[in-house]
Symmetry: C2
Subunit: 261 residues, 2 copies
């Protein structure tokens, strides 16, 4: 028989029972999303400890007054984030390790700002030029056609961190030098209604040329971290092509990955 109401079993598995989930059906926020957020914060705050079982989806949905697919959608979004693991026949558990950031297509400006570094930007160049071969190929325009070139020096605490060279299709928008100095390029693109969708990146290293060394306050020959990136908007159109060099002594790429399944 079903053991409904049988407290003697004293299941240790589900601290979820004590959690006060509050779902607001009048809110425009989807129910599965409300649930996912509350589960995530419960994990974040330790109310759901690593290894804890969530309890089966049927009971959970009954208790929350939601249908099972809705509950599954919430759980699935956290599985995708790497916070939960499902095992058929076993249950859904909180992952042990701390997963924080999946790799994001983030701008250097945002990275530094998030790290509390108070980045500053100096625009060295902002003009329209004929596209060189590599730029034309990356942006999908004809060689020699006009593109915007942007050269910026980024610093934190008064010390240079990176030299950024970016190319943009000419019709996208005109970027005010002032605005470029007060925020990041990606934020400007987003504000202009361009939603980035994907990007192709290459990260490498090389020795600094004399010019780069001078710009970045390094010695000639110092190791630099390099990144080339082409970013595409959600129609698949190239929105930006950039070649960046970072002082290896002051910057590194740091991120979390989930294994493809």
């Amino acid at each position: 028989m079903a053991k409904t109401g049988d407290r003697s079993r004293a299941v240790p598995g589900s601290p979820l029972d004590a959690l006060p989930f509050a779902l607001d059906r009048t809110s425009p926020v989807p129910l599965y999303y409300q649930l996912a957020q509350q589960l995530e914060s419960a994990i974040e705050h330790g109310a759901l400890a690593p290894g804890n079982l969530l309890g089966n989806e049927i009971d959970l949905s009954a208790r929350l007054g939601l249908s099972r697919p809705t509950v599954r959608q919430a759980i699935q979004s956290l599985v995708d984030k790497g916070l939960l693991v499902r095992r058929r026949g076993v249950g859904t558990q909180v992952v042990h390790s701390q997963v924080k950031r999946p790799l994001e297509l983030s701008s250097l400006y945002d990275d530094l700002e998030t790290a509390g570094q108070g980045p500053t930007t100096h625009v060295l160049r902002n003009e329209r030029v004929p596209a060189a071969a590599d730029v034309a190929a990356a942006l999908g325009v004809a060689e020699g056609s006009e593109v915007i070139v942007l050269e910026r020096l980024r610093a934190t605490h008064g010390q240079p961190v990176a030299f950024l060279c970016n190319y943009l299709p000419p019709d996208l928008l005109d970027l005010g030098t002032q605005r470029l100095e007060s925020t990041g390029l990606y934020r400007l693109l987003r504000a202009a209604g361009i939603t980035l969708h994907s990007a192709r990146q290459t990260i490498g290293a090389r020795s600094a040329t004399a010019e780069e060394a001078a710009l970045l306050a390094e010695k000639a020959g110092a190791a630099l971290l390099t990144m080339q990136r082409t970013a595409y908007d959600d129609t698949g159109r190239p929105a930006e092509y950039g070649t960046h060099v970072y002082r290896a002594s002051r910057y590194a790429f740091d991120f979390q990955l989930l294994v493809r399944v």
Copy 2:
């Protein structure tokens, strides 16, 4: 009125109509997965060109004899892969740009092998040692407790590419030096039943020390690409901690990203 059967409209949007979808309900492969694969290969082969609309989900499910949620699940999986874009009120479209690889937690060995480079590995060290502080912290074991240390030199075409230093919990498995020389570490872990789940990575650069230069056939002071990684299994337990250095002249990290939504 509905325009069912009205051919005069000559909708140009859905080349999907001509596609021969074959769903096998007796197969153990889920229906949504069968559909997703066939859609993906249609995109791959150009039967569905970039910008093409898929046609609405209701009609599609009716035509395929599937329910709408099942069709949505198939479409969603391709959206997650970055092949399709959905727009409410508009439809589902094939993305223009070629999206190939999302960033994977791949091993260097696999990377090189995929690139047809025929990698070789020389094991320099494979023994048990007391864990140093950083290693102990990364693997979540006590400082001074026994761990496996692995030092390998990887080459392609007879030229060194990278020096790999890895640490593993001692109870995981014993790695035969022979097997290590014939395949990648991650493949061995997988074969031992360890499924990797996530990893934390830092990619940076620095100048080569004299020893590194000698090992990698570079000049002292040459720019090297560095990577530190801690990989976790699906219970969140650290499975591997590694510090790798790559010859910048022969290797770079190359990958595709999707923007988080």
